[in-house]
């Protein structure tokens, strides 16, 4: 195969602890990372290297598990084992904590912003998924002293208890108001809003162990999940037999097995190229490409590139740059972040 993943940079992001997650801002110019040292760091490119622009040390009392940028790029949300979610507002190179969302009974495992910008989803070991609604000013171009009074108001609009165990990850559909979650109970749930309340519309069964990560394809028609069972599954929404009712069913249309040696912790579908990248507990980073097949209901993927020792320990997170095709970032239990360039020969 003439597809390659080349290492551009590797640097230590969280000294003496794990780097759990790394996220590109919507413009693709900054990286936010978080880890077991309870800190969040913002990284910016200076020539060929990455420099730490901001260190947010006092936001959480325990591990920060995930961070997520708002669609406008002016806000950052952080989910922590201390059971809270912080919303930070960007002011030049600094961030100020706007509000703290409380309510989960124990560790918050994930936070995600809906594309519309006003909805947030969080999930926790308490088995629930919470949907929050708030108002954030979309731009920072108010007059310097004017702060919007309503900016701090975030309300929980729904608590959904569809999973029977810890919920590990939540992800929003790229264009519709649709949410997906995955869990220690081995299932994936899909949620929609009905009469001002969010409910689970579909439960996707098939994995034989904890499902750790989820990602939608660029069009939102398919969902990929990755699991402790060492497989990746591709799910597609399809019309149920009988054609009645508004509920659609999701079917597993492809399973990638035999590629990963250990738990697959994260998966990311590139919005620009459609390539699928995975982060694995066998220290490897893999990229899969979709084969040209006749039947869209039976997609096939091949392993396009593989870096067996991307890090010296488990790879926890993988993320495609939203603006620069092929630019990929990963982070590891050894506290490092690595930036890669994926090039497809074809």
């Amino acid at each position: 195969m003439n597809d390659t993943v080349a290492l551009l940079q590797k640097f230590n992001a969280h000294p003496d602890s794990r780097c759990w997650y790394v996220a590109w801002n919507p413009k693709g110019t900054l990286l936010a990372s978080c880890g077991g040292d309870r800190a969040i760091r913002i990284w910016g490119r200076e020539g060929d290297s990455w420099e730490c622009k901001t260190l947010l040390q006092d936001g959480h009392q325990r591990t920060v598990r995930k961070v997520a940028w708002s669609p406008c790029g002016n806000y950052l949300a952080s989910a922590s084992f201390d059971a809270t979610t912080c919303i930070w507002k960007k002011k030049n190179d600094d961030f100020e904590c706007l509000t703290v969302l409380e309510g989960h009974e124990n560790e918050v495992k994930c936070v995600a912003w809906a594309p519309s910008g006003n909805l947030l989803a969080t999930c926790s070991r308490d088995k629930s998924v919470w949907i929050w609604e708030g108002y954030l000013s979309q731009s920072l171009s108010f007059s310097v002293d004017e702060e919007n009074e309503n900016e701090n108001e975030y309300e929980c609009v729904s608590v959904v208890n569809s999973h029977t165990q810890d919920v590990k990850h939540v992800v929003w559909h790229p264009t519709q108001e649709l949410l997906a979650s995955c869990s220690y109970d081995n299932n994936v749930c899909v949620y929609k809003e009905e009469d001002d309340d969010w409910e689970c519309r579909a439960t996707l069964e098939g994995h034989t162990s904890t499902v750790w990560g989820l990602t939608f394809d660029p069009s939102g028609q398919r969902l990929a999940s990755c699991s402790d069972d060492c497989t990746v599954k591709i799910w597609k929404e399809c019309q149920p037999e009988g054609g009645q009712g508004t509920d659609t069913a999701w079917k597993c249309v492809c399973t990638l097995s035999g590629f990963h040696g250990r738990t697959v912790y994260d998966i990311a579908w590139c919005p620009l190229t459609g390539a699928l990248a995975t982060a694995c507990g066998d220290d490897g980073v893999r990229v899969f490409k979709e084969d040209e097949t006749a039947d869209p209901d039976q997609p096939a993927f091949s392993l396009s590139a593989h870096v067996p020792k991307a890090h010296t320990q488990d790879v926890n997170c993988i993320a495609w740059n939203p603006k620069e095709a092929g630019l990929l970032v990963s982070c590891s239990d050894n506290g490092e972040i690595a930036v890669w360039n994926y090039q497809s020969g074809v």
Binding site: R18, G36, R62, T63, R65, F81, N106, E107, K109, R125, D166, K168, Y184, S209, T210, D228, R262, G281, D282, T312, Q313, D314, D333, N334
Partner: protein, 161 residues
Amino acid sequence: MSGGARLENANPLIFQRTGERLRTANDEDEDVADPIDDREIFDLIRSINDPEHPLSLEELNVVEQVRVRVDDQENTVGVGFTPTIPHCSMATLIGLSIKVKLLRSLPERFKIDVHITPGTHASEDAVNKQLADKERVAAALENSQLLEVVNQCLISNARTG
């Protein structure tokens, strides 16, 4: 531990400790790299204290060298442990102590798997799944009370070595 509370297993079988490791010529040679082997892992975990009794996991036969599998080349360590009774509620705690001891003692390159000896516990799948979930383990160790209990199990004293 808590004086006066009924012990789950009041009369455990006590086993004899294995003797010290025999040193070979290669062990003494500075230029030969020592691969990590089953015995070395066993030496790390044999003296872990049982949470309930003033005895080591070795003395209770909860851990045995024969149930340790190390592959130094592949960087994997597998430890099977046998709770003394099939409904032992301490099983997760014991497994966690073994895991923490190995995480603290072994080089970072190792993947550590701690599981219950098959067929010896009523909830072995549930316990094994918890021990294998590093996110759960990490969160548990941030709980200061639980961490203290684990550290008590890992205190080595002159008697148990």
